[in-house]
Amino acid sequence: MHVLVVEDEERLAQNLAKAIQKNAGFVVDIALNGVDGFHLASEGVFDAIILDLMLPGMSGTEVLANLRKNGDKTPVLVLTAKEDKSSVIALLDSGADDYLPKPFDLGELLARLKALIRRGKGQASPQLVVGDLVLDFNSRSAKRGGQTVELSPMEYRTLEYLMMRKGTVVSKEELLEHLYDYNWEKFSNVIEVYISTLRRKIDADKSERLIHTLRGRGYVLRTGEPQ
């Protein structure tokens, strides 16, 4: 998952990024002002945006309003020092999906972020099930047929994304967008390597194949096709 953090306090932004990376294995980009934040959010593809309200350049409220005006449906979690009810109502009404007052508990922020992303993908429970493949968000582990599958962080991320979009064809570009941050050089070969590794670990010696390649279009994770 690819998350954007828009927060002008550099130290806080860094802490958030580190926490998200360590805990959820997501990939994080940081913007230190509203203009950059809006820019990155519009140009890039993110699974969630953490947005501070008091930003230089463009205020958080403006960023949110503009994103929604452009039809961007990325889930947004707003961080704010204002706790009065009318501000909160205004926030949620203008398109925020969740909010947290500062100072916040890091654990709570991570939990809400993950829930936000799951909801954004239409996924309610912390467990993803496709066939006999079970993915647990909280423990970041995968089990096939009851047996744990050892995955590297990157492999997990890839599998997680595919499972979130289960049944849908996911292009290499899309995978690149969601699995790598802004700074990473995007070579699509990398994706192929991970897919093949995943296949080896998950589909090999199994009666049912889950990861499928559709030439020219991308990959899809679904049941229903025997090996």
């Binding site: 130290r11 802490n15 926490a19 020092a81 500062k102 916040f104 890091l106």
Partner: protein, 466 residues
């Protein structure tokens, strides 16, 4: 002394009433006395004259006096003495012999005396012509007639009247005292009403409304208005505090959020000793920032309060000295950036203020200028007398300048222009607010002019110590 106004007013009113009542009672008693004695005298006169009527000419001797005792109708208790002025006594009751010479000499024809233990009042008709002289061939016959009536009863009547008057006076006084008490109490009611309303003044309540009793009272209106303006000031101070806290809330919450996240990050999962060390170092940096924020906020609040307190710590300070002190203090920072601070002096003005505040003012302004100056540049400080009453300090730097849209806001609390948003190097936007608070407290003015890419000029005008 009585400490209650009501008590004092009542006592004064009662004293006045007592005085008035005493006068009235006195006059009444005197008047009654006179009236009673006047009536006694007229009775005395009447009896004397009726006795005189019985003195006539002797039938045998027209030169002699005769007394018709048969028609005498004198009350037993009265005394009389009739004598021919030529000598012989005609008649007298008991053994009373009035002192004729004395009476004549006294010129008063009535007098009081005691005889045989009884008080009498006597009337003398000296050389009174007899009434009805038949034989007019002889000269008018005259007689000395003395008549006395006992007056013990009269005296007791007078005493009784006096007693009655005094009693009535006292009763009237008592009633009026009660009425006065009640009236004064009622009169004080608007004051108590105002006091009660004032007691309920709260910083959060809106307008202080004057109660109806006060509105109707010319004496209480000034007090009422004074209370209104006092309440307004209290409210304003409270609002200022609230505003300050609300401004500060965001900053404080953010600083705390940073600290919290740094530490919680460390808490999560396992980290190497190196990571822990680094994390703790960062947490300490965060703490230092919070410390500075809190200190700045308290400083700002203290300055604003000190101005209202106006204690005796204001004294005459040398402007040049305070500037030199600040410049000296900032040498390390200036050296780091190879910035030269040049001070030019014109005159030697003195200002009334607190040295600590002046030092703070220059330090804040200079620090700002040095921070924004490029490396190896100059900051110019010019101090001068402006006229007889004022002096000025101008600080010029050649930094990046402040954008025009930010200039009106630079003195606002926690305001930072977007371009100088680097919170890590910059402060919290309180430096200039503190400077302005100090200048305001000294009764001066401060303004900032700036051109982008050229530099900034800060000009402070202060009142000279006279």
């Amino acid at each position: 002394m009585i400490s209650s106004i009501r008590g004092r007013v009542i006592v004064l009113a009662l004293l006045a009433q007592f005085f008035a009542t005493s006068c009235a009672v006195g006059v009444a008693i005197w008047y009654v006395r006179r009236a009673i004695w006047a009536s006694v005298d007229s009775e005395l006169q009447a009896r004397a004259v009726s006795l005189l009527a019985l003195v006539g000419q002797d039938d045998n001797n027209p030169y002699a006096l005769d007394f018709d005792a048969a028609q005498m109708n004198v009350p037993l208790e009265d005394l009389y003495y009739i004598a021919d002025p030529r000598g012989p006594v005609l008649r007298g009751s008991s053994k009373w012999v009035p002192d004729a010479k004395n009476a004549a000499a006294n010129r008063q024809s009535t007098w009081n005396f005691d005889y045989g233990g009884i008080a009498y009042r006597a009337k003398a008709l000296i050389n009174a012509p007899i009434l009805d002289q038949e034989d007019m061939k002889v000269p008018q016959l005259r007689v000395n007639l003395f008549y006395a009536m006992p007056v013990a009863e009269t005296e007791s009547r007078v005493k009784q009247a006096a007693r009655d008057a005094v009693l009535i006076g006292l009763m009237a006084l008592a009633v009026s005292a009660v009425l006065t008490w009640w009236a004064v109490g009622k009169g004080m009611a608007p004051l108590m009403e105002l006091a009660g309303r004032a007691d309920k003044i709260e910083a959060t309540r809106a307008e202080f409304e004057l109660p109806p009793g006060t509105l109707r009272s010319a004496e209480l209106m000034p007090l009422g208005r004074a209370l209104q303006s006092l309440a307004a000031r209290v409210r304003a101070a409270f609002d200022r505090e609230r505003q300050f806290l609300s401004d500060a809330a965001h900053e404080l919450k953010t600083t705390v959020a940073i600290q919290k996240s740094t530490l919680q990050l460390l808490e999560q999962g396992k980290a190497s000793e190196e990571e822990y060390r680094e994390g703790i170092a960062r947490a300490l940096e965060d703490t230092a920032r919070t410390e500075k924020l809190v200190a700045d906020m308290l400083l700002l609040s203290a300055i604003e309060h000190a101005q209202q307190a106006s204690d005796g710590s204001m004294r005459s300070c040398s402007l040049a000295e305070s500037l030199e002190l600040a410049i000296d203090r900032l040498q390390p920072l200036a050296k780091m950036k190879s910035v030269q601070v040049l001070l030019t002096r014109r005159g030697a003005p003195r200002v009334i203020g607190r040295e600590s505040e002046l030092s703070l003012l220059w330090t804040n302004l200079l620090e700002n200028s040095i921070q924004h100056s490029p490396i190896d540049s100059n900051v110019i400080v010019e101090m001068a007398d402006v006229d007889n009453a004022n002096c000025s300090v101008r600080i010029t730097d050649s930094g990046n300048g402040i954008p025009a849209e930010d200039l009106p806001h630079v003195f606002e609390r926690f305001y930072r222009s977007d371009s100088s948003r680097s919170r890590t190097t910059g402060g919290f936007g309180l430096g200039l607010s503190i400077a302005k608070a100090v200048v305001d407290g000294l009764g001066g003015t401060i303004r900032i002019d700036s051109t982008l890419q050229k530099g900034t000029i800060v000009e402070v005008m202060l009142r000279k110590a006279s």
